[in-house]
Symmetry: C2
Subunit: 572 residues, 2 copies
């Protein structure tokens, strides 16, 4: 490719809103351009990289036994209704109606579509398991797009769906896909951390994210200092350190409490430790149920854990008015003790307690009245939770779930994820069954496996760059060689460089040839560094029979023969 | 690939609504399934073929110097407004609004998007020409989908857009793309006819369709018997055979005419030839203008030609009520003579005459009153057309434009098209300019080039099949070899077939291995014929050290060694 003909040249200025290195460099080097916020053009250089990433994924997925196919992008909305994802996917789902009145969702992920195509066939256990995947555009009506390719409203994704006879068989495929992901990331040149995570509206019981550690990542996770445990903040567990659980329970006591509404106000007034206070957080879910989440005072509630525990789709904070007029409690003085008797008869309140409260004897907190607190509150004796389960937010320095090493907070870019789905979809979608050995129908046990191409590409730039520009790993570089011709206004030199260009391309080497005549050498070098092709070759009047070779990662160029250059390029 | 694991197996029954061979066979052989009307899943076998077609196109486009990129599928609606295609593309355009209220069109074609990305760069004449293309899903809200993959509402398309300094430079690229298309079709195995056609809402002055001759095609075109001329019905020209143009003009005469409303009624009453009658067809366009199209009585009006001539977006027939109450004429008795004086003052009527009327002297027809006709009507003397131009529908047997050979009506499947766009888009979209040698800005001269993947795939099946199934050309076959193992319930035979499978795949040969144990030989043979892989190899107890080889196109199998088989497969 001659640079003079390349569409999408380098520019010096970065976009004003570029908050990440990858956004800035991919823009300046001519790989991408924004269409509207969160929707990008891949320019020829960017598309070359995207295609290389796709080919690596395709090769590894096929090797792992998965089969590529393709589903339409407009999904019949009825399928999403069948699984209730029209509600659970919420605002992110884009809908459209065609001129005959048929309703569609613009595919965000394709679980329903793949179950729907599978149930069109009569499948026996003998044909299982299989894993089918596609490369296709995904649409998410994100509230905020950011960071160039890091959070998009439209993006290319590899999504795979596995169908197994049972969990045991599925677990092999889950491992197979996990191994495949590691091979893919290794081939593209990325070091990923496998992190336990939350499935969100995808559903299922467990899943793992593949994360590139990076301070600009949106994924907050915790890793134990010994590296044996890593989990997304929304699922991370920790060991609650000892409280005073062996103390003797004392009698419940109501006392006047002229204080403000915060936890700190309680600590100050009673001169007791924060951890002995009960933290009460009141939510309202999409069914209009009140959810009173209670936890030890030194911890915070993780809403994702809470939602999952109570199977809610959305949560919002209760208003002061609701607390006063419907619950008949008082903001800042809420208590689980006796609250069920106070609330209006036509409304439900669910008390959800975090197990951390079991480490506290004789806790203190509000008494559902202004300026009145309770002392010596004890679980089971003074209040009985409707649901007890982990709703606690892990924090940096907390003791890991093994009770030995401490958790370290990290940030990363989520580039892929694998999900156990189990019967989440096949239990909701009619006839998504195979015939077992006994001739009976059974629902499929499913998994799904996503991998974002654009985000992988951007992560590569986040990891591989210096102050001058991108440094592409060989496996995904848009070209292998950046050939710079200098003093090519001289016919003789021009012929020399053209000949080397031909020799390299005839060897099957992908070359970007900077053949611009009126451009200064410095500018050509700067462009080469910015674009980041692994091998740079300079040919000029001065290089004689030889050529000047430098790897993008090296500082100094050396004069070598074309044969030597071809050998070096072939090796790396 | 082992057939037992393949997702998407053969079935015996065809879908009830399958009206074409390709729909029927692609369904039965397990290549495609419908999601909703006009939106299809590509099953693994279908996707393998689709990928092979894409790779051939990509290779040839790159060889021709075009550069692959990728645009978002959701196009900002403002861009389509800029070129007025929100109106001209009409109902086919699907629109969507995101949750922030931004309006988008689902891409049907991407001219605006590609002009928009190009105008984001400062480009000099030295960087021109270039041709940028993509493979991406296209959406068309078609009223009727039909024929499996032949008319879809959503489909994968290669669309390319060229940017040149002027028409002279563009013409080279137009030829380059024309040649590239021929090479692509030759490689996939299709014989195409290049047909002059109408650009529809794409715009531009001229374009060519690549058509596969087929009785089920929706594209009706005419080819001169000597093969030198071929044109779509909407642009086909013909030589109007001599009338009586050398006759002397006689005086205009109004006479009573107690007749019905049809042309035949006129012929009968006056006992004169049809061709001497004036045919009047009255339309209303989107601006509410009346369009009176007049033509020699033995010809018909082609609405596409008419629309293009008068630059109308839509046309509908005028109602009897409009003819009576607004035009103040009478249905069946319309005449261009004096009609402009009759019509209501606040309405416009445009008389569009086909040049065929110049071959008629002393024509006859209505007189804008019930039961009154005019005789000896002559153009220029009795009425003056506002616009004169070719609006005639060509018909089978008409004399071609060269006046020598006759036109033959043909049908075909349009698999690709190339369009001159000129300044159609760059004159409407601001700042779509480059800098010329003198430092001044100039609009780009454009072309665009479309190629439908699904339709190409379906056309291949329409052409290559027999009563047993598909016969894929080697270049696009999902696999090269269909290996059938028989009597593999015997461990010894199973090992033998497994070994051959390994040997073939290790040679880089793509093999579909029918490893089903409980399936009868006859069923396996029938499936092989249905799926249509070029080379069939059968291994059983009986084949000994050899294997039974048969090409899909052959009737009789022969016993050969695996080395011989590998050689045959490599050759074809």
């Amino acid at each position: 490719m001659r640079y003079s003909n390349l569409f999408g040249k380098t520019v010096r200025e970065a976009p004003a809103d570029a908050s990440t290195i990858s956004h800035k460099l991919l823009y300046q080097a001519g790989f991408i351009r924004e269409s509207t916020a969160g929707r990008y053009f891949f320019l020829p250089l960017g598309q070359l990289v995207q295609n290389k990433i796709i080919n690596i994924i395709r090769e590894e997925m096929n090797k792992a036994g998965a089969q590529e196919m393709l589903s339409p992008l407009l999904h019949p909305l009825d399928l999403w209704k069948e699984t209730n994802r029209t509600n659970t996917a919420g605002f992110e789902l884009m809908r459209i109606i065609d001129r005959r009145g048929a309703e569609f969702a613009l595919g965000g992920t394709a679980e329903e579509m793949f179950v729907d195509i599978v149930r069109k066939f009569q499948i026996s256990y003998k044909e299982l398991p299989f894993n089918i995947y596609q490369f296709s555009n995904k649409f998410r009506d994100e509230m905020r797009a950011r960071g160039g390719l890091l959070r998009l409203r439209e993006f290319m994704m590899k999504d795979a769906y596995s169908f197994d006879v049972d969990e045991e068989s599925f677990k092999k495929e889950y491992k197979n896909m996990g191994d495949t992901y590691m091979r893919i990331y290794e081939k593209v040149g990325l070091k990923t951390i496998v992190v336990e995570s939350d499935g969100g509206y995808i559903g299922g019981d467990y899943c793992h994210e593949y994360v590139i550690e990076s301070p600009i990542g949106e994924s907050k996770f915790f890793m134990s200092s010994d590296g044996t445990y890593s989990a997304h903040e929304d699922v991370a567990c920790f060991t609650v350190e000892e409280g005073n659980q062996s103390d003797v329970e004392e009698s419940l006591k109501a006392i006047k409490a002229q204080r403000g509404k915060t936890m700190e106000d309680g600590v100050k007034l009673h001169n007791k430790p924060l951890w002995k206070q009960i933290k009460d957080v009141l939510f309202v879910d999409e069914q209009n149920r009140f959810i009173l989440a209670i936890i030890r005072g030194d911890f915070d509630v993780n809403e994702v854990k809470l939602k999952k525990l109570i199977k809610a789709i959305t949560l919002r904070s209760a208003t002061d008015e609701e607390i006063t007029n419907i619950i008949h409690s008082f903001p800042g003085f809420i208590s689980p003790v006796g609250i069920k008797q106070l609330v209006n008869k036509d409304r439900e309140i669910i008390i959800v307690a975090d197990p951390s409260l079991r480490t506290v004897k004789n806790a203190y907190g509000g008494n559902n009245k202004q300026f009145e607190d309770l002392l010596n509150v004890n679980i089971d004796r003074d209040y009985i939770p409707d649901i007890e389960g982990d709703i606690a937010l892990a924090k940096n320095g907390f003791l890991g779930p093994d009770g030995k090493s401490r958790l370290e907070e990290k940030r990363g870019i989520e580039v892929g994820n694998i999900f156990q789905l189990g019967y989440h979809y096949t239990s909701k979608m009619k006839n998504s069954v195979f015939t077992d050995e006994g001739g009976k129908t059974q629902p499929y046990y499913m998994g799904c496996y996503g991998l974002g191409i654009g985000r992988t590409l951007a992560s590569l730039v986040e990891i591989y760059h210096d102050e001058k520009g991108i440094i592409w790993p060989q496996s995904v570089a848009p070209f292998q060689v950046h050939l710079i011709g200098l003093s090519i206004e001289t016919e003789e030199t021009k012929i020399k460089v053209d000949t080397i260009y031909t020799q390299l391309t005839e060897k099957g080497i992908e070359v970007l040839y900077d053949d611009r005549v009126e451009t200064r050498a410095g500018e050509k070098f700067a462009d080469a560094d910015l674009i980041g092709i692994p091998h740079r070759i300079v040919v000029s009047k001065k290089t004689g029979d030889k050529l000047e070779y430098k790897a993008r990662t090296e500082k100094v160029a050396t004069l070598i023969s074309i044969e030597e250059a071809i050998q070096i390029i072939g090796q790396k």
